[in-house]
Structure formats: structure tokens, C-alpha cells
Amino acid sequence: MSRVAHVADSAPDDDMTVAAVDSVAAVRDAVLDASHARRTLRIAGRGAWLDAGRPVQASETLSVRELSGITEYVPGDLTLTAFAGTTLGEIRAATAPHGQWLALDPFGDDDGTLGATVSTGSAGPLVTSFGRPRDLVLGVEFVTGAGVVARGGGRVVKNVAGFDLTRLLTGSWGTLGVITEVTVRLHARPEADQSIAISLDERPTAAAERTRQLLRRLPFAPYVCEVANDALARHLAVGTGLTVLVRLGGNRESVLAQRAAFNELGDVRDIDQNVWPALRGCEPAGANVVRLSRLPSEIGLTWSDAQSIVETISSGTAFMHATPSRGVVRCILPRGNAVSRTHLAEALGAPTTVTRVGERLENALWSFVTRPSPSDELAARVRATFDPHAILNPGLLGAVS
């Protein structure tokens, strides 16, 4: 039995119809109906990512928020299967009593859904140690743009049966299919889990590089190691000035040794674990968020590129944080006025060797960060195969029109 409920109060746009479906069959029927009528669909979970990615023009929203619940969880297998609309918070609540967790901390909060996290391929600071969603997703079920229900992968931690539809769908932003169910790999919680901060008073580019070099030498990988600028450190109440935020996990002896190793950077002080949800949720509404990346060894250069973008707004209020192990710097820019927007557009459009990925941007800014990729043509063929009438999230990926 399937049900399609029309939910008026959660529509992201006032004039958009939202269909909330609570079964895979209902998702398929909604997609088929739209496909036959050539109506376009905005695919949504709980709406946390609707302002992320390039603007979508769709005739209605298809929400999988009602398609929720954990369908299988055997703690001894360290795997969990849940419908797409299940929130990260629900997964945390189910796994925590067994000393386990899903080591994904996408920016935002735990009200985000598993389906959206996987669909957008979103990863947070834990990426340093646990990898991206592609590394933790074991299987997906999805409905293609033509209404075909397909599965990739499975429910076991190792699997090479068939072509890898799981990784193809992960991070495809709902443009190849509507993800309806996901199986993920869990991790057991460590004996000790501790967070520390170190304030650095040197130039930020040098500090980011020194942190990366230390990470390269250490015989262990911390769970998290982020470098935050002064504005972000103050916002998180972990100190002032450039601040390195580290999360350490392992047995007690190991965590003690890891903590001691960071003394090489500067004075280590303990901080509250609440810093991590605070970091995830530090984006003000309507902020422009851009991620810059190069090879890790060029983190200093990437930081200065990020700095020049931040300075077009108002350097005092913009947040920046780097993941030195991956060579990534994220800029979180409160929305400015028309003048600052023009400056930001210029900075984003400047020729550079850095890879710029827009996370959240005002519509007018997207064309400045979108670059052609050598695999665009192949990607377009994949899209045309899975969503022949381009009804799923049109505009979100692919060539800019």
C-alpha cells in the first residue's frame, strides 16, 4: 500500500507542490507519473540541502521524508540499512546504545536525512579518518528517472558483484535516481575520544602548512584535524586567532600519546566535544559557501586563495577552515550587498589552478565557479541513460545553461 500525501507547510517555495511519499512503490509511481507528463521533480529529504548546489527549476517537489525507518540493524555485523528519509539523528540514537556510530558528519545537523547525505556525497570533518560517503555506503536502492527500481551493492561489507551502481549514485545529487534505501558501514566507538585545540600565532598559510607536515609525520591519523580562522574560533568559543581543532580516538594509551604529539604545534588544551556539532552548524542562513582544493602539499597557497575570496566580503565576519590532510579550505561568507557580490564574483571567476566547488551560493554566482570537466560528455551520457527525460533535479549537475 502506498500513499501520497500533499504537505503544504514544508514547501521550500510557496507555489511548489510537495508530494511526500512513504513507500518505494509510491516513489516509483510519482516518478512514472512525472515522466509520462514530462513534469520535472525537485527531490528532497527534509529540505536541509535544498539551498545547496546549483539552482533547480522543477514543477514540483518529491519528498522522501515520510519514507523513513531503519529496516535492518545487526550490531555484530556493523552494518545498517535504512530508508532514505531516516535522519542521521535516528541512526545515532539506534547505534549509540551498542557502542557504534555512522562516522559521517555532513555540515548542517543530524536532522538531515541519510538519503540526502548519500545523494549529495556530503562529508564533514571526520573525512580525515573515515573517508567520504562513497567509502561508507555498501548498497543503495533507487528509482531511475524512468521509474525503474534498481539496486546496487548489497548489505555486506565487501562486495564486487555487478557494476558499481552504489558509487555512481552516491554524490549524484538525485539526478540519476531517487535513492530510496541505503546500507551503510558502521564503526565501533573507540575506548577514548577526546578533543583538543592549539592556538597558533604565525601567518595562517605557514600554520596550515606546518600542521599538514606534522600530520604527515605522525604514526597515526587523528579522527579530525581542522584549522579554523580567528572568526570561526571565536564563534566556536575555542579560543582566538588561528586555531587547530583535533579529535583523537583509540585506546586510552594511544589517545594520550596522540595528544602529546600535538604539543609540537603549540600548547595543547582540552576542549568540549560540542565543538563538532557547532562547527557543522556554523553556517548562517543564506551564507555563500565555497570549497577550494589542491594537493595537500599546496595547502598554504590554497589558504591564501581562500583568504582573497573572504576579503571581498568582510574578513572580520567570514569563517574559514582547512582540512590539511586533504588540501581543502572551506569559506563561509555571510551574504553581502550588491557591491560585495560583484567583488565575490570577480574573485570566484579569477583564473587559478585551484579547484573551486560551490556548496551554497546565490543563484547569480554559480556561473563563476562552474568549470567544464573532461568527463562532462560521458557524464551527460550517464545522465541521459538513467534519466532520459531529464526530469530529476534539472540544472543541478551538468553543463550550465
Binding site: P75, A150, V156, K158, V160, A161, S254, S373, S375
Partner: protein, 488 residues
């Protein structure tokens, strides 16, 4: 000069004129067209199949590979890319089509120690890469048992695993970017060095595509740092069940061992009777080979926890390797187990399946029953930490009745694993051997969707034809569901 007879419909396209044209590209010595010369290439490491290619060609450079594939594209000739031929699923067999050997493309194009990555040609041997970067304190983590011979290109095609994948992940977790030659002759770049991709994960789609999506011309891999310290333990148990329980208990602590392998009694006895004798106790029902690695600080605490858990779950003895010599010896028994079994009998099938870890005791008991009922000798040596079983059956292929019983046992084992919520292959691939099992785990729509993805890369299905997805699933792709049930 007589060509090899073949029933393949494409055989008419593979003639002396093609051989001559390919010889112009790669040199006459690098084109094999006589039946006697092609015999070497009729099997991979799985002895159950013998399929002769109509022609084999061995390009020596990237440009030669491109020219060969473009020539075949012009003529509409199907081909099979092959690395070292160590695969265990018949995936590299070229039945009456052209075999393209990539084992001459052995250059490591660049090593970036600072950023932990390397760019290699597809024919680079797995262990050769680790050796080449050892001076930087780095290694390439995926370590299939055939690592002394298998190639990185083959590893990419199969999404190869290995004992240390429990902690470090399988091939797909270590590939950052690829330059791919599509069967049409078109060259595409997938992914990038930073691993930050804005768009579809086409690297993820290509890895594990078993040669059906094209040929990787160069591969950018992630390198891993060598651990500061390694500790290896051998625990032996009087029942398989107790050993399986110990595996679950270890994983539940949050310690992620670098490897967690189980070796059953039949395998222990085969190993101990061979030149690879590692000192495993021959009266034990099962032994666990457990390795932890990482920073020295805290490592002994993990060793102590593991030792304690093994004893709590009934381990009779727990031996901790005192030095590198003893460590290598303990591993030798595991790594050479297949070779040791080969001594017992003329033929050996190495099977590969995965079950949820908690189902291991029940599935192992079922396998014992199947072996008894079918009167076949099943040995188990496998990656217990991730539930990846490798039941092996030794037999005499000249005995038709025994061979038949072995086939039946294999099918029954697969059914048991699938029923337990598992899958038909964890690391060896589907190839030719497991195409018939794909219907057990995927719906017709899922298989048709996989087939459609393949057609994006290879619209004519000329690259490694007939592998991975059953032919009947590749019906004309209308992108419409097979049926639309009525809803209320």
C-alpha cells in the same frame, strides 16, 4: 598459418589481414595468431574454463594500445583486456575474440611521496609498486594473494581486495583518477588527484567493471604510510564456532585489525604437510591469524585485549610472533594455503562469497554439511573480519562423477551464502564463472540497469563480451520498468 577455429560470430572479422595490420602497430612478434601460440592464453588462474582467443596482441606502449583499440573499433572486433591472468573468475578469457595483453605497460609514471600518490601504467605489478615506494616509507595497500604477479590494471578491473583490506579498504578506496580508453577509441579522464570531484563518481563506476568499460591507460593511486609497528598473533580453537565468536568479539571492541583471517583444520593440515609449514597446530579445528598495526603507543594494549578475547572465547593457545622471521612464517602458511592444497589433489576450485559476519558460524556449519552430503573435500581459509569466505574444493577433474558433485556443492554453497544475506563475490569478480549466479542477488531491473551503464561506456558491448551481466538481462534498454504494479 592456420587460425584457431571458433564458434564466435566475430571470428570472421579476425583474419590474417587484421593480424598483419596489428603487427604493423606492435611488431610481428607481439601478435599471436597460431593455435599453438595461443594455448597459454586459454585459461586464467581458475582452471575450470578453457577458451581460446582468436588472436592475442601485446602492445608495448600507451600509443600502441590506443592504435590497437582504434583499429579494432574501426573493424567492429570484440576484445578482452588482460593483465597478468591471475584472476579467479574466468574474467580475462577471450573466447574467439582478440585478447589485448597489457602486461608490457609496466612504467611507474610518477611518484608524489609528499602527497602520497603515484601514477602507474596498467601492467605494473602490485608488489612492484610497493617496492618502488618503500624508500619513502609508503606502500600500496590492497594486497591480493597474487600480489607478486597481478597487475594494478587487473586490480582496478576486479576491484581487488586482500587480507589487509579489512582496515585499509579495497582497490576502489585507493584509486583517485584514471585515464580511460573507451572501446570506441575515445580517451577520457576520470576523477582528479585531489579526490575532490564535482559531478558523478565515474572513477567509482569504472573500478570493478571487469574490463567491460574499457582499458585504464594510467591509474592514479593513493599510497599508504607504512605502519610504525606490526604485531601478528595466531590463536587456535577447538571449534569453528568458538573462532567465529572470537572474531565478532574483537571487531566489537572498536579495534580494527589490519587483518583477521581464519584457517580451518583441513587447510591447516594441508599447509603443515607442505613445504610452507608454518607451525600451525594440526589438531585445532580452526586458527585465527590476527594482525594489528599502527603507532607503537597503544598497540600492545590492543594486542593484550585481542589475546584476552581469544582466550575468553576458548582459544587453546595464543602465539604472538616475536620477530619478523616468525611473523613472515605465520603469514606464509596463510598466503601459500592454495598452493599447499594443490599438492593434495590435481584440481582445486577457489570459491569466493561474503556473508554478514554474525552468520559465519551458521554458514560454516552448513558448508560442513554440504561437504559431507556431496562427499567433497571443502577447505576454508578466509578473511573472517569482513565475512569474506573462500571455500576451496580439491578434486580430480578426470573423475566425472566427482567433478559433478563439486559443481553441485559450489552451487549449494552459493545459495547458502545468498540466503544468509550475503553476496556471490567479495573480491574475485563475476567474470564468466559467476554470471549464472547474478540472478540470485539482483532483480531483472537491476541487471538491466547495470547493462545500461555498461552501454554508456561501450555501446556495442565489444569490450569483454559476455561477462558480468547475463546476456538475457541486456534486453533492449527502454528505461522502463518490467511491470508497473497497480497501486491504490
Amino acid at each position: 598459418m592456420a587460425s584457431v577455429a571458433s564458434s564466435s560470430p566475430s571470428s570472421g572479422l579476425i583474419d590474417q589481414a587484421l593480424a598483419d595490420r596489428l603487427a604493423e602497430i606492435v611488431g610481428a612478434k607481439r601478435v599471436l595468431f597460431r593455435r599453438s601460440e595461443l594455448l597459454t592464453y586459454t585459461a586464467d588462474a581458475l582452471p575450470s574454463y578453457n577458451k581460446a582467443p582468436a588472436l592475442a596482441v601485446f602492445p608495448g606502449s600507451r600509443d600502441e594500445v590506443v592504435s590497437v583499440v582504434r583499429e579494432l573499433a574501426t573493424r567492429g572486433v570484440p576484445f578482452v583486456p588482460r593483465g597478468a591472468g591471475t584472476g579467479l573468475s574466468g574474467g580475462a578469457l577471450a573466447d574467439g575474440v582478440v585478447l589485448i595483453g597489457l602486461n608490457r605497460l609496466t612504467r611507474i609514471l610518477s611518484v608524489d611521496a609528499e602527497n602520497g600518490m603515484a601514477v602507474v601504467e596498467p601492467g605494473v605489478v602490485n608488489v612492484a609498486l610497493s617496492r618502488a615506494v618503500a624508500a619513502h616509507g609508503l606502500h600500496y595497500a590492497p594486497d591480493p594473494s597474487s600480489q607478486a604477479a597481478c597487475t594494478i590494471g587487473g586490480n582496478v578491473a576486479e576491484n581487488a581486495g586482500g587480507p589487509h583490506c579489512l582496515k585499509y579498504g579495497v582497490t576502489t578506496n585507493h584509486i583517485l583518477a584514471l585515464t580511460v580508453l573507451l572501446p570506441s577509441g575515445e580517451i577520457v579522464k576520470l576523477g582528479n588527484q585531489s579526490g575532490e570531484v564535482d559531478g558523478y563518481d565515474l572513477v567509482g563506476a569504472f573500478v570493478g567493471s571487469e574490463g567491460c568499460f574499457g582499458i585504464a591507460l594510467d591509474i592514479t593511486v593513493r599510497l599508504s604510510r607504512n605502519p610504525e609497528a606490526i604485531r601478528t598473533l595466531l590463536a587456535d580453537f577447538m571449534s569453528l564456532d568458538a573462532a567465529a565468536q572470537a572474531v565478532s568479539a574483537i571487531v566489537a571492541t572498536g579495534i580494527v585489525p589490519a587483518a583477521l583471517e581464519m584457517i580451518d583444520q583441513a587447510t591447516i593440515r594441508a599447509v603443515e604437510a607442505s613445504i610452507y609449514a608454518a607451525g600451525y597446530p594440526t589438531d585445532a579445528a580452526a586458527a585465527l591469524l590476527i594482525e594489528v598495526d599502527g603507532a607503537i603507543a597503544g598497540l600492545e594494549a590492543d594486542v593484550a585485549t585481542i589475546e584476552q578475547l581469544c582466550r575468553t572465547h576458548g582459544a587453546r593457545t595464543v602465539r604472538i610472533a616475536r620477530d619478523e622471521v616468525e611473523r613472515v612464517r605465520l603469514w606464509q602458511g596463510r598466503k601459500k594455503a592454495f598452493g599447499a592444497m594443490g599438492r593434495i589433489s590435481s584440481h582445486l576450485v577457489v570459491q569466493d562469497a561474503v556473508v554478514p559476519r554474525t552468520k559465519l558460524p551458521a554458514v560454516l556449519a552448513e558448508m560442513h554439511r554440504i561437504g559431507k552430503e556431496r562427499r567433497v573435500n571443502i577447505c576454508n581459509v578466509f578473511h573472517a573480519g569482513d565475512g569474506n569466505l573462500h571455500p576451496n574444493i580439491t578434486y580430480n577433474a578426470a573423475d566425472a562423477d566427482e567433478t559433478h558433485r563439486v559443481h553441485e556443492a559450489m552451487q549449494e554453497i552459493m545459495s547458502v551464502c545468498v540466503k544468509a544475506g550475503g553476496t556471490i563475490t567479495g573480491e574475485h569478480g563475476v567474470g564468466l564463472d559467476k554470471v549464472g549466479y547474478m540472478d540470485m542477488i539482483f532483480s531483472p531491473d537491476s541487471l538491466a540497469t547495470m547493462c545500461a551503464l555498461r552501454q554508456v561506456f561501450d555501446p556495442d558491448r565489444r569490450s569483454n563480451p559476455g561477462k558480468v551481466v547475463p546476456m538475457h538481462s541486456c534486453r533492449e534498454w527502454h528505461m522502463s520498468p518490467t511491470a508497473r504494479p497497480t497501486t491504490t
